[in-house]
Symmetry: C2
Subunit: 181 residues, 2 copies
Amino acid sequence: MEHKLEDTIALLARTPAALDALLRGLPEMWTEVGEGVGTWSVSTVVAHLIHAEHDDWMPRATVILQSGETLPFPPFPRDGYVRFKQVKTLGQLLDDFAFIRTKNLSDLRALNLTSEDLNRRGRHPAFGPVTLSQLLATWAAHDLTHLHQISRIMAHQYREAVGPWSRFLGVMQCAGHSSAA
Amino acid sequence: MEHKLEDTIALLARTPAALDALLRGLPEMWTEVGEGVGTWSVSTVVAHLIHAEHDDWMPRATVILQSGETLPFPPFPRDGYVRFKQVKTLGQLLDDFAFIRTKNLSDLRALNLTSEDLNRRGRHPAFGPVTLSQLLATWAAHDLTHLHQISRIMAHQYREAVGPWSRFLGVMQCAGHSSAA
């Protein structure tokens, strides 16, 4: 089950620039509209990624290293993005995401984690024991699940525009929803 | 059904840099492995995007403008990526994609398409009449379906590594497949 931490860091280091290149300056019809009532826009997804940088990955890694399984992870509410989104533009959110990700990767590298560290276990409030290795791999996979979601949200805006092609575009058939816990 | 061509161009112009920022220099376990026997790696997806730049979007737009519905679009075989992939590295493929996309968008802008042009119809070999507007919207949505696929292929490599988190990651539940015709 163990993964190579360098593979995870290589991906985590690239996501902010990839989202920046894709999203900065795009017309708001792509970035400020969701998939229906109560769903997230692309900007909201970026705010959620910032929230997770602050309250999810590194704080949970610290809990594992300091307390092991004795303390469950603190809760990570799905609507916690609100305090990071505020009234910021998407450009500001992309800046915030790049800044906090760089800081977190610097902190992660400074831990100089060993194989033994990666096998240490913590306690997830919903599904019990998890390893530090699994948590860090999930950090990278969480970027991918939201890249997947962003491409789906954007494609949704063109469901009508593509006419008969809609049934041939995989992204328009996707019912997958991101809900990393 | 009509869409704003500038929205489409804004996205098409950003995809090569977004893929470059995400993929260039990543370890090959992310980019050279598919989702099982006979499936595409990330590198193959990029080669397919290059193939579509050469043989799909602008050639079909030209058929619509020159021949309307009298000629069906030429075929676009799914394995046509092979002649663009060859033995190229992912870095070379990303360069090729950026180059041909820039050229195609320059050619598209030079057409100075009017609303009347966008409503002109061509004939898809499988599902009949389509408008130029629908073709160009599909060009952008096709980028998104493959960004969606790329995130899914990459996440697949971490199915084991994330442990119990796999069932909470939307991208790992996705069975959507890209098959733009």
